[in-house]
């Protein structure tokens, strides 16, 4: 059985959906962080798959993925640092703790 484009795209979409769902439901900031990673990674899959299946004669998607991974790493680093900051401030990583600024 040949693996078609959709066979990659659908899991990627599910992955993205999981990420979104996780982001919206988890209370722990770390878990939210992980959900975000899921989303970013699913996008990477998209790029790679599109490149591989649709436009196999160039590497733009691949390169993009490489950069995206790096960026994701940077984002994670910054996010973690900030989570630590928040933890120092409120002694907690519950996302519902940081809702002082509103309306």
């Amino acid at each position: 059985m040949d693996l078609t484009l959709l066979m990659y795209l659908i899991p990627s979409l599910i992955m993205f959906g999981c990420g979104v769902y996780g982001f919206l439901t988890r209370k722990n900031m770390i878990a939210i962080m992980i959900s975000l990673e899921l989303m970013l990674n699913s996008i990477d899959i998209n790029f790679v798959v599109f490149n591989r299946f649709l436009f196999p004669d160039q590497y733009e998607g691949m390169f993009f993925t490489l950069f995206a991974i790096a960026i994701a790493a940077a984002e994670t680093a910054v996010a973690l640092a900030i989570i630590i900051n928040v933890f120092r401030a409120v002694k907690n990583v519950d996302i519902n703790e940081i809702t002082k600024l509103k309306f």
Partner: protein, 486 residues
């Protein structure tokens, strides 16, 4: 590799040089001369800004990934000016005790984000754009968290970083769809590939791209981080965020929409943007009406201003583009004037609510005067620059000639009344209300004062001096081809 290509991006290179010099100074100069860092940076940046006004060569570099033209040059100069004002305002604040160890970082991060924005402006390839976008947005999360003693600072940073990453994920998803459709990430190539396409995927991609950039621009409903971050972040950062970041995003947004998705203009994104603009202006105004914290108030005001800026995008013509750049320029001066006053007062008294400003005119006439200029300019009152920029952006939008856009402009105009209401509330607090325990007479630092004078002069003169707008129209006319698809 042809290194002469770097000559086509002199502003970026220059900015990197400034960054390097600041970095070197910060790293290698002894502790006692660290206090001079703000002045050093500001002066250096001022020199750089001045040099940048020398017209640069036009062309594209690095296989067309980056393009320099008169419009990008002008836009970057506008941002440089704004950045310079921010640096002047921040000089005193960065010399405060708690900033002692982080002074250098502050400047370095600030300069880096600016560099990212330059990339966004000049990028003609989505990879470069994404890099620019992330460079411009991630450091801001760190900057927002700068005031370690204040809880709000942390909350702001956390909110910013999570929503920003989420937003960039959505944006990247959109880009991946575009890539899937077009097979390339060059703006021009995508444009030619999608002519005549009416796929659902493209529309979704478009929506996600609008969402991603709309996040930077704080368009409703992608705006919600704005108020919290503006309120929580240090005022210098807020000022920076509200104008520079917004300006860069607006410009690149216009370029992407016109150049990449131009073919889908009338079929799709005109109406998507239409809805977004109405929401942005109205919701921004409604929220701004009832704010008491001035920083938060300005956040919502800036959301609504972003809606007006978008009128220049929906115009999708050179006049609209010029008007948009002009609007950003005026907005830089007006908003920075307001933030300058807020920062000066907050630094010395820690007060940021409207009620604290009661009777300010009696004690601090010049601060009040500057603030009033800013408010009038933001409200679009002649003869201040804001009036001209608003008028031109409406003219630009109406140039499309469609009745729908006229209706949109009417909605925007009706909203100006609401906006005028809340701008006048600030004026009222300062000039009309009386308070026995008004803020005492303050002494602003040289930097703050200079920044305020620059802003005030800008507000008064930019509108009256027509040459600026005229040259902007010339610059945008030179790149009229980006609208060829529309």
């Amino acid at each position: 590799m042809d290194y002469s290509q770097f000559l086509l991006m002199p502003q970026e290179v220059g900015l990197l040089l400034v960054f390097l010099l600041v970095f070197i100074y910060d790293t290698f100069m002894p502790q006692r001369s660290q206090r001079a860092l703000p002045v050093f940076t500001t002066v250096l940046f001022a020199i750089y800004t001045a040099i940048c006004f020398v017209p640069c060569e036009v062309g594209s570099a690095f296989a067309g990934m980056i393009e320099t033209n008169q419009a990008t040059w002008a836009m970057k100069n506008i941002l440089n000016v704004g950045m310079l004002i921010v640096l002047m305002q921040a000089a005193k604040w960065t010399n405060e005790e708690f900033m002692r160890v982080r002074r250098g970082e502050f400047y370095e991060l600030l300069l880096l984000t600016l560099f990212g924005m330059f990339l966004m402006i000049s990028a003609r390839h989505f990879l470069l754009f994404v890099i620019g976008l992330e460079t411009a947005s991630l450091p801001i999360a760190c900057l927002a968290a700068f005031e370690k003693k204040r809880y709000e600072s942390h909350e702001a940073a956390a909110k910013y970083v999570f929503t920003a990453i989420f937003s960039s994920a959505i944006f990247l998803l959109g880009i991946s769809f575009v890539y899937g459709i077009a097979g390339t990430l060059y703006y021009n190539d995508i444009a030619t590939m999608i002519i005549g396409q009416k796929s659902t995927l493209l529309v979704v991609a478009l929506a996600f791209v609008i969402a991603g950039v709309g996040f930077k621009l704080s368009l409703v409903p992608f705006h919600q981080w704005t108020a919290d971050v503006y309120q929580g972040a240090p005022t210098a950062v807020t000022a920076y965020l509200s104008v520079i970041s917004k300006g860069a995003a607006a410009f690149s947004f216009l370029v992407i929409m016109a150049q990449v998705f131009g073919a889908a203009y009338s079929t799709a994104w005109e109406w998507m943007l239409y809805a977004v603009i109405i929401l942005t202006i109205t919701i921004g105004n409604l929220f701004a009406m009832r704010q008491h914290n001035l920083k938060r108030f300005l956040a919502f005001s800036s959301i609504s201003q972003a809606g007006y800026i978008m009128l220049g995008v929906i115009a999708a013509n050179t006049l609209g583009m010029a008007s948009m750049m002009y609007y950003v320029l005026v907005y830089v001066f007006s908003n920075l004037a307001a933030f300058g006053v807020i920062a000066a007062i907050e630094r010395q008294t820690g007060k940021t609510t409207t009620d604290d400003y009661n009777g300010l005119f009696k004690t601090n006439p010049w601060l009040s005067f500057t603030m009033m200029l800013a408010m009038f300019s933001l409200g679009g009152i002649p003869p201040f620059a804001g009036f001209f920029s608003k008028f031109f952006i409406f003219v630009g939008a109406c140039k499309t000639g469609s009745v729908a856009v006229y209706v949109l402009v009417l909605i925007a105009l009706v909203n100006t009344i609401i906006s005028l209401y809340y701008y006048l509330l600030v004026v009222k607090a300062m000039f009309i209300r009386q308070d026995d325990c008004a803020i005492p007479t303050l002494k602003s630092s040289c930097g703050e004062r200079a920044a305020m004078i620059v802003c005030a002069l800008g507000i008064i003169l930019i509108g009256l001096a027509s040459c600026i707008y005229t040259s902007l129209t010339e610059y945008t006319a030179a790149i009229a081809n980006i609208f060829s698809q529309i």
